[in-house]
């Protein structure tokens, strides 16, 4: 049996099955459960890396669920009728992000939720969340994407409300649930519109026959708006700070990559599903406008926040703006002669920014969680002098803050540079806004650094527990690798992903 063949299904099934085994092991012993969960996320990460590098070398993996020959499609019906998983470079790229962040979050959680109740359920939901993210990224079927979207949003809402003795947590979860439910229902409605015309649910098969009728346009608008809301772009970003701030820190880090899974769905729909007909559309301009608004409003709101996690949540709105700007420029220029010169560079920048943001934003949320773990407050006004006692946390915070502000030599600088240069070519205003936002980002992290870590020693606290430090160290190590070898990363990982998005024919040819 060729294991690489079954990898797409295994990567989804492993966390999903493990999720339902976790409560049983939890009954046996606490240590066994922790070891089991860590083993699963580490195995998942290793498998994902192997599989992803197999994909990056130019393959597309197809997996037909429930078939005796999974790589062959059921051909007598002329269209793929079973659920088909299709993994190209972009999916594999997103898969690496989800698996890495989940690994760091799970290891971090071991100490972080130690004192809470219902830890078996916590890990169950965490693994389901991982399965939901990877499922969303790997599926080649629209309806299946809706199902994984709902799995992802239900599990993440339940986890946001994990500390339900805190009213804010429940309120944030309620808001996120309502928002994501409405978005998902409208996604389902647009799937119905597409199905009614073409009798197809498979993305690749649909992209070959799509003809851009009026109903297709309605479906496109609904899909793009819904996924943009799930990705947290202004002016549909209000749930982001509400949902992110009260959640446990490790879950917030996971939520960052969960919103990026929605971003992936947005890109997949606009580039691949509508790839054939997107030329005469306004979606590119729409994404650029959303990107600009997200960047500016996100960062200015962050600047005036008092709650450390709320501040960081507004930053993730603002960072989503960079991705939308980069990829939006690519979409705006798609099928023009400029695309191959700077359009593709903008897309590479936007996609590179996805992995950068998942890592440093994850790391920053984890450091915020470490502060919360020791001080039991998220209010910046009550903090101060933590650098005296929490040395490693301070170091990790500095790494994350410099990376998000785009200070060379960190990875944030590399991806922002790609976006700035391409955006300048489209319109200098875009670049100027992007740079101002970058400066304001630095300013607000200086604020956090000053008020939380600098100053005289106020609190007698200890360093964060070991498992939390390991979780942060994993993400910090990834950031440093991404920072030192940006060229290698872009050539080997990001460029294949950008090309996979840009050429819908390759994805469609897979089925």
């Amino acid at each position: 049996m060729n294991i690489m063949l079954h990898m797409p299904a295994l990567l989804i099934v492993l966390p999903l099955l493990a999720a339902f085994v976790t409560p049983l092991i939890d009954k046996l012993s606490r240590k066994a459960r922790n070891a089991f969960v860590i083993a699963i996320v580490v195995i998942e990460e290793i498998m994902m890396l192997f599989f992803a590098f197999h994909i990056f070398s130019g393959n597309i993996a197809i997996y037909t669920m429930g078939s005796s020959e999974p790589t062959k499609l059921v051909t007598e019906a002329a269209v793929p009728i079973r659920i088909v998983l299709e993994v190209d470079a972009m999916s594999a790229f997103m898969g690496i992000i989800s698996a890495t962040v989940a690994m760091a979050a799970a290891i971090y959680s071991i100490s972080f939720v130690e004192e809470s109740k219902g830890k078996g359920k916590f890990y169950t939901l965490l693994l389901i969340m991982l399965a939901g993210m990877i499922g969303m990224e790997f599926t080649g079927d629209l309806f299946n994407m809706f199902v994984f979207l709902e799995i992802l949003s239900i599990s993440s809402c339940a986890l946001i409300a994990y500390r339900n003795s805190d009213g804010n947590a429940v309120e944030g979860a309620f808001k996120y649930m309502v928002v994501s439910n409405i978005a998902a229902l409208l996604v389902l409605f647009s799937i119905a519109l597409l199905y009614s015309q073409y009798d197809l649910l498979n993305i690749a098969a649909l992209s070959k026959v799509i003809s851009y009728t009026e109903l297709d346009k309605v479906a496109l608008v609904l899909l793009v708006t819904s996924f943009a809301m799930k990705a947290g772009s202004v002016p549909m970003h209000y749930w982001v700070p509400d949902g992110y701030s009260p959640a446990p820190a490790s879950i917030t880090a996971m939520l960052v990559s969960a919103t990026q899974a929605s971003l992936y769905a947005l890109f997949r729909v606009s580039f691949t599903l509508y790839g054939k007909v997107i030329t005469a559309s306004y979606i590119g301009v729409f994404l650029i406008i959303l990107g600009l608004l997200s960047m500016f409003i996100g960062v200015t709101m962050a600047l005036s926040q008092k709650d450390i996690k709320r501040l960081m949540a507004y930053h993730s709105v603002s960072q989503t703006g960079y991705m939308l700007l980069g990829v939006g420029i690519g979409l705006y220029l798609l099928n023009t002669s400029d695309f191959n010169t700077y359009g593709i560079k903008a897309m590479e920048g936007g996609i590179f920014h996805i992995i950068n943001n998942a890592m440093y934003k994850g790391l920053l949320f984890l450091t915020a969680g470490a502060i919360f773990y020791r001080l039991k407050t998220r209010n910046l006004n009550e903090m101060g002098g933590l650098a005296h006692s929490m040395k490693y946390t301070t170091l990790f915070f500095i790494i994350g803050a410099l990376a998000i502000a785009g200070i060379p030599p960190f990875n944030g600088f590399a991806s922002k540079l790609l976006i700035y240069e391409a955006a300048y070519r489209v319109s200098p205003i875009l670049s100027i806004v992007a740079m101002i936002v970058s400066i304001l980002t630095l300013a607000s992290f200086v604020k956090v650094f000053h008020s939380a870590f600098m100053g005289a020693k106020i609190y007698e606290v200890e360093e964060a527990p070991k498992s939390m430090l390991i979780g942060m160290a994993i993400l910090a190590a990834v950031i440093i690798i991404l920072s030192i070898f940006p060229g290698l990363v872009v050539d080997k990982i990001v460029a294949p992903a950008a090309h996979a998005l840009a050429n819908w024919q390759v994805y469609a040819g897979g089925v």
């Binding site: 309620f174 808001k175 309502v178 928002v179 409405i182 978005a183 409208l186 009026e214 346009k217 309605v218 496109l220 608008v221 793009v224 708006t225 809301m229 002016p235 549909m236 209000y238 749930w239 509400d242 306004y282 729409f286 409003i297 200015t300 709101m301 600047l303 005036s304 008092k306 010169t341 700077y342 560079k345 910046l380 006004n381 903090m383 101060g384 002098g385 060379p408 030599p409 600088f413 590399a414 540079l417 790609l418 240069e421 391409a422 070519r425 300013a443 604020k447 956090v448 000053h450 008020s451 600098m454 100053g455 005289a456 106020i458 920072s483 030192i484 070898f485 940006p486 060229g487 872009v490």
Partner: protein, 112 residues
Amino acid sequence: MLKTYAGSWDAITWIIAFITIAIVVYIIRSFGRKDYRKGEAQKAFFSGEDVLSPEEMHVRASNIYWGFVEAMKGYYAWMRKIHNGIINDYIAWFVGVAAIMFIVFFIQEVIK
């Protein structure tokens, strides 16, 4: 080496340059005067006022960027009004954006 649209970026070169410049700066600094007095000369001069203890000097988060927020008072007032935390409005914004998209997409055909 990362090739961007107009140029290139290499972190290792940057780090080497940074370290080189740092060494040069350190060397230049070491040419400086060594006869300064420890103690009194090192103290910060606050217009003759007594320097507060570090605990009292720590600027709290709300006071940082007070000037920026004050200068953009109108903008922040507007933002506070929008970010009202009411779930109904979140959905209303979503419907609004979808409506704008519909208008942009279908206005050509209406004109036709």
